[in-house]
Amino acid sequence: MSAFNARAVRADVPQLQRVINGHPLTYLDTAASSLQPRAVIEAMSRYYELRHANVHRAVYQTAEEATAAYEGARDAVARFIHAPGGSGEVVFTKNATESFNLLAKSWGSAHLGSTDVVLVTEMEHHANIVPWFQLREQTGVEVRFIPVTDDYRLDLTNLDELMVGVKLVSVTGMSNVLGTINPVRELARVAHAHGALIAVDGAQSVAHSPTDVEELDVDFMLFTGHKMLGPTGIGVFWTHEAILAAMPPFLGGGGMIADVRTDGYVAADGPTRFEAGTPPIAEAVGLHAAIRYLEGLGVANIVDHEHGLTGDALTRLALEFEGRVRVIGPKDTEDRGGVISLDVEGVHPHDVAQVLDQFGVCVRPGHHCAKPLMRRFGLAATVRASYGPYSLARDTDVLIEALGHALKMFG
């Protein structure tokens, strides 16, 4: 067995040593953004202290070191998601949202016309919806939604019908509201059988379930650094080399060109074509450190750990509140991650979160950038608690105590 130890992870995360309103910090907002271990913070500081320089094309030593650090991060990402073609398939963006814009506005605008369909789901984050609506304004592509069942799963009963005209299926690996883990490999099979490609929003899944793009047989994988123990300011766009090579440029500027004349320009090849301007160098260094840290823990161990916490929390919430606190998401841990959305009887999510803050509990009230999903369930907002590798059952204790207090105060 492994040496995974959530207490040790906790000790590695400086912010978890904070005391809020007289209580130790209970961080249950990892689905919004994870906390950074010291190794990630220090990797970036060291980068700035020792070798910051602009990358590419300089010959002096610190610039070579900076370039090696930046490209080393690309290698690490490729390895982490098992990119079959290696680092030449990995594009760095500023966040998952930019990655989706790149997908829609480069690949999409070249491939999706007015008779084509992009198939998303009702449980998508706005990042995987709005860029398609924007593309629709431009090319007339149809944006179609896979419905969500009453038990918070994708409704795939009419999938073959839904697939008519679809050129791309774009689906989240794990819902950031429900915790639902979608059957990506199965969807990939169906997509390919219909001659469509499949893109996966890995923002929630990549640090909480092992990701092997080759085994999943997907065509695009998009995610974001700050939800995988990494820094803000960096996202990833992965696709197969051949697909990338055929994608037209997106943002224009320095770095992404092979040549510029006063009468036109020629775009560069490879990931560079999509990295206009000075890239997120320190952020790539931080992401690399985060990947190293995650690999050290073992993503499979993180899954087990969070699975245990989630199952325990679901049981206790049901027992403790006898229906006054409703879980908006699957009731058991099968194909489910550690994201638990709650509807607290008679208490508005803002008020729940405010009371919880008094106990040092960090949860997120709101629509979680998934308004179509909220509407589907007739909710304006939920309170969401989510786990990370540093979470402990103790966090659930405090959550339950604080929820009880909120019910007493407003209920």
Binding site: N21, G22, H348, P349, H350, D351, Q354, D357, Q358, P365, G366, H367, K371, M374, L379, A380, A381, M409, F410
Partner: protein
């Protein structure tokens, strides 16, 4: 804890649990104006009966958090039956109360700009300014009222 108890004063919880002026008015003669905070889903519907330069009656529907609901309820109590000019003054004063936050941050210790006595029970919402994200909740009813008055005036 002090801030927290300042936010959820008893009077606020009371207005949240038993909102005043709840209901609808026939339109016309009343005017219906709706407010929506898409970020948290809070909604409010105000029915305004303006006659002879005064807001002779006000009723409201909608849902939201304790702060938005209590603020609406307190607002109704404060403005009902008042001349429009007075209502606009009250709105202005309340807005000032809600933006005092920034002034306080920048010039710590500066005396309050807002005459709290003029606000009466509304002063109970003063605690909100220490919670920047909640200010929008408190403002929803007020912004909607301004919109309604502008509509009537137009």
């Amino acid at each position: 804890m002090a801030n927290f108890e300042d936010l959820y004063r008893e009077i606020i919880l009371d207005h949240y649990r038993s909102p005043r002026n709840r209901g609808e008015l026939t339109t016309p003669p009343a005017v219906l104006v709706e407010g929506f905070n898409p970020l948290c889903g809070d909604e409010i519907a105000l029915y305004l009966d303006v006659d002879d330069g005064a807001l002779v009656n006000i009723k409201m529907m909608g849902h939201g958090c304790s702060i938005s609901q209590a603020s609406a309820s307190l607002m109704g109590a404060a403005v009902k039956g008042r001349p429009i000019a007075t209502v606009r003054d009250t709105i202005e004063t309340f807005k000032q109360l809600m933006t005092e936050h920034e002034a306080t941050i920048e010039h710590d210790g500066r005396p309050a700009q807002v005459d709290l006595r003029a606000l009466g029970e509304l002063a109970a919402l003063q605690g909100v300014v220490k919670f920047p994200v909640r200010i929008k909740c408190a403002m929803l009813a007020w912004n909607t009222l301004t919109q309604g008055l502008d509509q009537v005036a137009a």
